[in-house]
Every structure is written in structure tokens, then in C-alpha cells.
């Protein structure tokens, strides 16, 4: 076999240790193909959301009364809705709404929850007891009921929906993170930090929080799919993102049901988009959980 320049370069690059993150993602892909599939769908979705301006064949808000309720065709791949708006373009732009709300709500919810959980575990005693009772109360509300109550107070719209979804998530994350933080609190380095005279805030933020990253990330990814579903539900009820913003849940509302028999594409494609997004985040989240914490491998 002739040794060409290329194979030598291949060999050389194979010898070079890969960067850590690359190795980690390589291992993840190899060991958890389902998770990798989820990750790929998520990356594609992020790409679509970022380049929606160029990808979408039409303006998501442009109405065309000459082509109302048009069936899928060469000009409108997924058909049009009752205002003559292109369904494909709206599904593409809808990925922005879903990602913004999903990422925003789960980041706020999981981060505040983690902070509260760690602080509750660190201070312990009476503080912990009170915080836990408050969490008991908040967890007794179904997710959507609390979100609806928050929407009633804040009003509808993108930012308010993010908050309405984030708030019910806080106690759920706090509870899970707290149980991990309880073990971290007993670690010698926390005692050492306390002996060194560090402030409580510094110990919580710098020493304990980084060590509950695994449950934090697990909760964050689990929340992502829930947040996307919840946003779709709220928007479907008319209590989430408002027209004319392109959002998948909103697209299923009203006319989509009214004209379901004659124009089923209006009801089918946005729902498919929701399902695919939630599916991807679930696959990825599950695999991430398995990879990060084998003990939590319950479901």
C-alpha cells in the first residue's frame, strides 16, 4: 500500500489528542446514538430559527387574500392559513418563538430553582424547613394552573409567557437540586471554605453551585421540552403569545380547528413541529441524564 501524503496527515491528526469538548461529544454520540439524534434535530432547529429570515419563502406575517386556505403546492409547500399566510414560513418563524420561550423559561426556572435549592440546603435548619414548606405549596399546583394564574397577573405576550412558565418550574428544580446540595454541604471543602471565613454568598455561589451542575443540567433539559409544550398550550388557549406573532400553538388555534376538515394542513404541520421539537429535547435530555448521573436513571 502506497503511503500517500493524505494518509500520513490522517495518521498525524489521529495521534493528536482531540479537544476535550470534542472528545466528550464524540463519546456521547457513540454511546448514546438516540441522544445524538436529538442533539442533531436541536442543532438543525436552532439553525432554522437563526436563519429564518433567509430560509422562509415568505414573510410570516404577509397576508395574501387571493390564496386563502390554499392546499400545499409548489408555491406554498405546506399550504396557507385563513389569512393566506404561508404555513411553512410561519412554522419556520415559529421555531424562534418556541426556542426563545423554551430556553428563556427553562433557564430562568432552573437557575433560580438551583439557587434556592442550594441556599436552602446550605443554611439548613429553620430556613430549609420554611423553604421546603413553601415549595410543597407551590408544587401542589399543576404546572399549567400556576402558569395561567401568573398570566392573569402579568398579562399575555412573549416576556410574560416566559415568566409564567419559569415560575412553576422554580420549586420543582429547587427540590431536586436541594437533595444533591445536601450531600455537597457535608463535603470537607465547604467546611474549609467556611473556616477560611468566606461569606455565605460566596460559598453558595462559588463552592456549592458548581458542584450541583449535574442535576441542574438535567432539570434544565427536562424543562426545555416541557416549556415548549406549555407555551404551545398557553398560546393555543389564547393566553400565551399573541397574534400575529408566529407561534406553533397559536397556529393550531381558531381557524385551524374551524377549517380542519377542508384545510387539515393548518392543524397538522404546526403540531408536527411541536412534536418534533419536544421529541428532540426529550431524547437529548434523557441521554444527558443517563450520561451525567447513572443514579438518576429511573425513567
Amino acid at each position: 500500500m502506497a503511503v500517500t501524503k493524505e494518509t500520513l496527515e490522517d495518521l498525524a491528526s489521529a495521534q493528536k489528542p482531540r479537544p476535550r469538548w470534542l472528545q466528550a461529544s464524540y463519546d456521547f454520540t457513540w454511546q448514546r446514538p438516540l441522544g445524538a439524534i436529538g442533539a442533531v434535530i436541536i442543532i438543525v432547529m436552532v439553525f432554522i430559527a437563526l436563519t429564518a429570515n433567509w430560509l422562509a419563502p415568505y414573510d410570516a406575517l404577509a397576508t395574501d387574500y387571493a390564496a386563502m386556505l390554499a392546499a400545499p403546492s409548489g408555491t406554498h409547500w405546506l399550504g396557507t392559513d385563513s389569512f393566506g399566510r404561508d404555513v411553512l414560513s410561519r412554522v419556520i418563524y415559529g421555531s424562534r418563538t418556541a426556542l426563545i420561550v423554551g430556553l428563556g423559561a427553562s433557564f430562568i426556572g432552573a437557575t433560580l430553582g438551583a439557587l434556592i435549592g442550594v441556599a436552602s440546603a446550605y443554611f439548613g435548619g429553620r430556613v430549609d424547613l420554611i423553604v421546603q414548606r413553601i415549595i410543597d405549596v407551590l408544587i401542589s399546583f399543576p404546572l399549567i394552573i400556576l402558569a395561567l394564574a401568573v398570566v392573569a397577573i402579568l398579562g399575555t405576550g412573549l416576556e410574560n409567557v416566559i415568566l409564567a412558565i419559569a415560575i412553576p418550574m422554580i420549586p420543582r428544580c429547587a427540590r431536586v437540586v436541594r437533595s444533591s446540595a445536601l450531600a455537597v454541604r457535608e463535603m470537607p471543602y465547604v467546611d474549609a471554605a467556611r473556616a477560611a471565613g468566606f461569606t455565605d454568598a460566596r460559598i453558595v455561589l462559588r463552592h456549592m453551585l458548581p458542584n450541583v451542575m449535574a442535576p441542574y443540567l438535567i432539570m434544565l433539559t427536562a424543562f426545555l421540552s416541557q416549556a415548549i409544550l406549555l407555551e404551545a398550550s398557553l398560546s393555543f388557549l389564547g393566553l400565551g403569545v399573541q397574534e400575529p406573532v408566529a407561534a406553533w400553538g397559536l397556529m393550531l388555534r381558531g381557524a385551524a380547528i374551524e377549517f380542519a376538515e377542508t384545510a387539515p394542513w393548518m392543524a397538522i404541520f404546526p403540531g408536527l413541529a411541536i412534536s418534533l421539537a419536544v421529541f428532540a429535547f426529550n431524547l437529548f435530555g434523557d441521554s444527558l441524564r443517563d450520561a451525567l448521573d447513572p443514579k438518576l436513571r429511573t425513567q
Binding site: I145, L237, A260
Partner: protein, 317 residues
């Protein structure tokens, strides 16, 4: 054991009280009140005086702590009071809807259980075969599809393929069981499928864990019939976490089906909640939240007790 039950039972009271305080305060933060909204809905101009008289009639002019103690006093006598919007007793307002929600929750739970337990066991004994993968994809797809969208698809399919629509008006079961089931089976299937997903996955993993236990190996070694091992030895122990999941889901089904109810035109507790909060009907909203939370807290309590009773190794504190 009795002490444990008592302790857990008593712990329910402060939680419920907390729920009551929280929803009471949350509602007072919501802008606008029932009087404003009702007069606005009637579309006529009303002077502040008229609004004030109406507020006084509903007791909304009193200080907040006094409104709270009045409400609590009623609750202690199991009196939820009158709806601020319709003026009818809240027990009457809720009764029919509670029946509907309860029936739907029970049916969906039955669907979920019937799917989850056999599928979970099947996936566990056939681990890493195509059957296992098929079951997992089926259940993860159930988690991904919003049940309201699944509901829309079902209605669409029936409409297009069979040219038939399920009845859209609720008939109580004892009036016409056939009509009642014809309407409720669809939402129960849509919701049950979704809720079976979590339980299936739980059943599978908990079964896998149990199958690795020593006593299962012993049972196999002494040549026990596989079916007997599964049903008598493995399933019984693997059921525990699944029971918890199913129990907690049942609690959420009671109040959390807002969107599915909308799709199937069902007047359940979820829709009533949305209506009540939009009308700023404080008394009705409070009662609804309290009921849903009470069901959740009670189911939580019941599963904890069942856990401790079924598994003597677990005796919490």
C-alpha cells in the same frame, strides 16, 4: 406505622393552608375585579357609586384580612360560598364539572395503566431487542405529542374517514352511558396515551432493576415457570414506583387538562378555572384551586402510605 400516617396526615394541613393563602393573595394581585368586568361586559356606563354598591354587596370593600377570615370561616364549615359572577352556590357550580373531570381522569388513568404495564414489562424482558426499541419510541412519541394536538388529529380522522363526530354535549354517565362513553373515550385515549409514556418508561426501568435481584435468580435457578416469576415475584415489586407515577398523574389530570377540554368542548374543571380567572370570580377560583391542590396533596399522601405499607423497608423518618 400509625404514627407515620398521622404525621403525614397532619403535614397536609399546613400545605393546604399555604395553597389557600397563596391563591387568595395571587388573585388580589390580578388587575381588575369581578364587578368591573361584569359591568364592562354589559357594555353600559356605570358610575363609581354603582360599582361601589356592588362591591359592598360582594364584600369586596372589606379589608383583605377580613375577606380572608370570612372565607376561611366558611371553609371550616365546608362552605365554599357563592360564586361572585353567577351568585349560585359554588358546590353547585362545580358539581357537574367535577363529575366530568373525575370520570375523564379515571378513564385516562385506566387507558394509561392498560398501556403502560404490559408494554413496560414487555420492553424489560425483551431488553435491547427491536420490541424494546419499538416500545420506547412509542412511549417517547407519546411524550412529545401534545395531547390537544392528538385530540385534533383524532377528531379530524373521524371526520374525514368515518364522516362522524363524537357528541359534543356532555351527557352524564347514568343518563345515557353509551352517549357518555362515545364522547369521553376520545379525550381519554388522547390523554391516556400521553400519560402512559412516563409510566411505561418507569415500569420498564423498575422491572429491569427487579429482574436483576437475587431472589429472581433464585426463582429461575429452581426452575420456576417464567410467567409465574414475572407475575408473582417481579411485577409485585416493580409496581411500586409505577403506582406513584400513576397516582400523581391522576391528581394532575383532575385540573390540568385545560387545553384538551377545550379541543373536545368539555366543560371540566380546567375550563371552569380559565373562565373563573378571566371573570375575576375570586370565590370560584379559590375553591377550584383548593380542590385541585387537595386532590394532589391527598394522592401524594396516599401513595406515600401505600409505599410504606407495601415495602416494609421504607419507613420515612
Amino acid at each position: 406505622m400509625a404514627q407515620y400516617i398521622l404525621k403525614r396526615f397532619l403535614l397536609m394541613i399546613p400545605t393546604l393552608f399555604g395553597v389557600a393563602v397563596l391563591i387568595f393573595l395571587l388573585l388580589r394581585v390580578v388587575p381588575g375585579d369581578v364587578v368591573e368586568i361584569r359591568f364592562a361586559a354589559q357594555g353600559q356606563y356605570s358610575s363609581e357609586d354603582v360599582l361601589a354598591i356592588e362591591r359592598a354587596r360582594l364584600g369586596l370593600d372589606k379589608p383583605i384580612w377580613q375577606q380572608f377570615t370570612t372565607w376561611m370561616g366558611g371553609l371550616l364549615r365546608l362552605d365554599f360560598g357563592l360564586s361572585m359572577w353567577t351568585g349560585a352556590p359554588i358546590t353547585e357550580e362545580i358539581k357537574l364539572r367535577f363529575e366530568l373531570s373525575l370520570q375523564l381522569a379515571i378513564m385516562a388513568t385506566v387507558v394509561a395503566t392498560l398501556l403502560a404495564i404490559p408494554l413496560g414489562i414487555l420492553a424489560a424482558i425483551k431488553q435491547d431487542t427491536w420490541i424494546d426499541y419499538a416500545v420506547r419510541v412509542f412511549s417517547i412519541a407519546g411524550l412529545a405529542m401534545p395531547s390537544f394536538w392528538l385530540g385534533i388529529l383524532m377528531i379530524l380522522a373521524m371526520l374525514i374517514i368515518f364522516k362522524w363526530l363524537p357528541p359534543m354535549v356532555y351527557t352524564p354517565f347514568w343518563v345515557n352511558p353509551w352517549e357518555n362513553l362515545a364522547q369521553l373515550i376520545w379525550p381519554a385515549l388522547a390523554v391516556g396515551y400521553r400519560y402512559s409514556a412516563v409510566a411505561t418508561r418507569m415500569m420498564r426501568s423498575s422491572m429491569l432493576e427487579v429482574l436483576r435481584e437475587d431472589y429472581i435468580r433464585t426463582a429461575r435457578a429452581k426452575g420456576l415457570w417464567l410467567k409465574l416469576i414475572l407475575t408473582r415475584h417481579a411485577m409485585k415489586n416493580a409496581m411500586l414506583p409505577v403506582l406513584t407515577v400513576i397516582g400523581l398523574e391522576f391528581a394532575f389530570l383532575m385540573g390540568g387538562l385545560v387545553v384538551t377540554e377545550q379541543v373536545f368542548n368539555l366543560n371540566g374543571l380546567g375550563m371552569l378555572f380559565v373562565e373563573a380567572i378571566a371573570r375575576r370570580d375570586y370565590t370560584l377560583t379559590q375553591a377550584l384551586v383548593l380542590i385541585v391542590a387537595a386532590v394532589f396533596i391527598f394522592v401524594n399522601f396516599a401513595t406515600d402510605i401505600a409505599y410504606a405499607w407495601l415495602d416494609p423497608r421504607i419507613r420515612y423518618r
